[in-house]
């Protein structure tokens, strides 16, 4: 099923941001400028929000700072497990009958928590999407972004993020806190342009760092981030999933 999406659905990359609070890992991956940055959140909110929300908002802030411009735009937040640490605490409280539950923990456990705090912090009344697709989070987020930009002109923010999983829930994966954000708009000659995602045979999915498969789904953005940070003019095929189903994009660098 190659080219399930018309490659006409090209998007211009106006900004990119990453948040990977584990300094040793960031350094091993040769990433800089990826610490937490939640200056946009009011101080009272900063204390209440989860690591998942804080890394998502950090990466989002960075992508928007790089691209500049108005923050009143639609945003797409994608995460495999969302607010899993607070959900873990609620499940434990229920199992131990430590009731009543904390109302703050409960409303912070919804999957659209990060997008809601982003909307409140920026004052954006545009559409806030909160999606999930396990290892295909980045690919499906790009697909939603491509469809939104095809049907409504303008710019939008795409944020893919996950916090570490509580013990024993996903023993086969090793998920570190990681968020990756892109500010996307109309394609343009001077910009890096990405195609919408399409499926190719696993063998043609382009080069990517080895061993992504057990990594946080947001790390599917690393091949693109590295290509943006060390630009080689021309067209490149890059994988956009930590899974093995072949979701790929074409990146064209000026």
């Amino acid at each position: 099923m190659s080219d399930a999406l018309s490659v006409n659905a090209t998007m211009g990359v106006l900004g990119a941001g990453v948040c990977l609070p584990d300094e040793a890992l960031a350094s091993a991956l040769q990433l800089d400028d990826c610490a937490l940055d939640i200056a946009i959140l009011p101080p009272m909110v900063r204390r209440r929000t989860s690591l998942a929300t804080r890394i998502a908002i950090s990466a989002a802030s960075r992508a928007c700072a790089e691209g500049g411009g108005d923050l009143q735009m639609p945003a797409i937040f994608v995460s495999a497990a969302g607010e899993m640490q607070v959900t873990d605490r609620l499940c434990q409280a229920i199992a131990r009958e430590a009731l009543p539950l904390s109302p703050t923990q409960f409303h912070n456990s919804v999957h659209n928590s990060a997008s809601a705090y982003w909307s409140m912090a920026t004052g954006s009344m545009a559409s806030m999407q909160a999606m999930s697709a396990l290892q295909d989070c980045f690919a499906m987020g790009l697909l939603e972004a491509a469809c939104q930009l095809q049907t409504q002109a303008g710019r939008l923010l795409l944020v893919v993020y996950d916090e570490p999983m509580p013990a024993d829930l996903l023993p086969e994966f090793d998920w570190q806190a990681c968020a990756f954000a892109l500010l996307l708009g109309a394609p343009s000659k001077g910009l890096p342009n990405v195609s919408g995602p399409f499926v190719v045979d696993a063998g043609n999915a382009g080069d990517g760092p080895a061993g992504l498969s057990s990594r946080t789904p947001a790390m599917a953005g690393l091949p693109l981030l590295q290509a943006l940070r060390n630009p080689v003019p021309g067209r490149h095929r890059l994988p956009v999933t930590t899974g093995n189903d072949g979701w790929t994009i074409e990146l064209e660098l000026p």
Partner: protein, 403 residues
Amino acid sequence: MTRRIPPLPISACTVLSACGPGMQSLLDSFESGQTALRAARQFDLDFPAFTGEVDAALIPELPQPLRAYNTRNARIALAALDHPQDGVRAAVESAKVRYGAHRIGVVVGTSTSGIYETEQAYNEREQTGQFPASFDFARQHAWVATAHCLQQALELSGPCYAISTACSSSSKTLASAQRLIAAGVCDAVLSGGVDSLCRMTLYGFKSLDIMAETACTPLDRDRSGLSLGEGAGLLLLERPRADLDDCVHLLGCGESSDAHHMTAPHPDGRGAVLAMQAALQQAAISPAAVDYVNLHATGTRLNDLAEMRAMRRVFPGGVACSATKGFTGHMLGAAGGMETAISWLSVHHGLRPGCCGLQTPDPDFNFSVNADYEANVPVKVAMNNNFGFGGNNTSLLLGRVHV
């Protein structure tokens, strides 16, 4: 260049809720005016609550190769899919033959996914120190689990993802499905939502102090909160095709945010106004052309008041409207699927459901609501509103493309 979004046919739809299986169960409930909410039975709660539990027979266990997805959420989804009269599975199979498995997407809304099973796994871990062997987080609790289960059950290979924006989750799946088709990525998309009752949501809404002690009475002067329900609403959206012209169509979608508060709506329904206006604008329909609005109306003091203030702004001349959560309970992540299906029924049969449990409409609304069921009324265009935590708002318009 943005593409114009055409009206898209809904070629099949179905529901499963406390009212029963299938669209006929809703017709029966609307005619009788009887609530399906009962004192909670599935859970031993330490507070009084009414719930809308799915009583219809579910398969006890998923067959291979779906066994690992075995949750109440997935069993509810499959029971809905397999409802014989509503025929959603048959419609998907026929689209698959016509377009190919890779051209059919699956976008499912949920706010609970399989948390019910996760709660049981945590209980077991408290006792034994270990999760049960059957517990599989990725296939049961991860938000996309039910979407993946449906995709595999139907042997589809197009795009597949979950949307979880609390109570607007499954309305948003229709907007995503519409874009996937309009952008030419998919020819058909199975959309809608599935939610299952669990302690997390029951105790959670209790902690927020917005649960009614008896069956909820949305829009009533004396309303005292919401009642939770569970179930599914599934809709197959397809690209326009001459032989589907007589189907009820999705005419427009509007999405917005309040940018206001995590749980409380903007008091004037500012985001709700934007969502409704965006849907009308996309469909190029004037407010006066809307014949029925299925309100979000959960039964909490603040939500109903904010929504009705928004209604006054969008429909200054009034519009027939009602709330149906008094029948089904608030199905959270499945509410949008259920209530879009109700709007489909409204257009398809020419009916307007009443407000189950409504005794005295709240005079503070200053807006007339339809307390009673009306059959054989012309409904060319129906609107469905759903608003979620975090100020996440969706408004959809359904109607006929030619009359």
